[in-house]
Symmetry: none
């Protein structure tokens, strides 16, 4: 998956890049999007992945625990299903667009089993940051990820 720039029209519609669609389509015709917790961008994935995460939370925390309560609110309160039509577009909400400061162009960035949607300028900065960081931590990284 590479980085793709697509236009956002006046209604908030964006074409999900065809490569992304192809992967999702094997399972369904919808994705889930939510505001990234740590970055000014939108994150997307399949519902399956989100369900898996929810199950993990349920297993790792107690039913009545504050942690479980907070996490489920955080994840499911924010996440929204987006079905894409025959032309492969989704309609992003105001909340999501605002969080990522996206107006007329959205940058799709593949992240393995999920992806991110950025404002072009912000992504440019982020990419530079990531590259610098990766270079700095290279020795540690290679040791850690051995199994991949």
């Amino acid at each position: 998956m590479d980085t793709i720039f697509n236009k956002v029209d006046a209604k908030g519609r964006v074409s999900l890049p065809s490569d992304y669609r192809a992967i999702v389509k094997e399972l369904s015709t919808e994705i889930v999007c939510y505001r990234s917790l740590t970055a000014p961008c939108i994150e997307g994935c399949t519902e399956e992945l989100l369900d898996k995460l929810a199950t993990e939370i349920e297993n790792a925390t107690d039913f009545f625990s504050e942690t479980q309560d907070n996490l489920t609110n955080l994840i499911f309160g924010d996440a929204k299903r987006f079905t894409f039509d025959s032309t492969g577009r989704i309609m992003l909400t105001e909340k999501l667009l605002k969080h990522a400061s996206i107006t007329d162009t959205a940058v799709f960035v593949g992240k393995g089993r999920k992806f991110q949607i950025w404002n072009p300028e912000n992504w440019e900065k982020e990419e530079a940051r990531i590259r610098a960081e990766a270079l700095k931590n290279r020795p540690t990284l290679t040791r850690k990820t051995e199994g991949e």
Copy 2:
């Protein structure tokens, strides 16, 4: 899933968001609501889930023996069935609305298998609190849940 703001009309009626309805409708046309034990909000789910919760409480007797009675009383004594009509609306009771301080607008917050109903201002505060908290505990979280 998702957070949705709906109006409460003069008669106390609220539209249950269509996405929520779609999931419930496969089974029936009613949900169960009760006052949250931990937060100033209303909680809602299907009757099936409440039954499951009852079983879980029973199974956890070893750990909750003291509080089991209290829990069952609090939840089941409070829970009430709400059928939604052809337009998808329910009529919440005074008791529930008062507990959540809801007057003219109700915020539906998805929690996976259940949902919460909040007063807009309270939810805004709660959401900010949760997100800040999650950000602070991020290292711990990611280790536990292996994803984000």
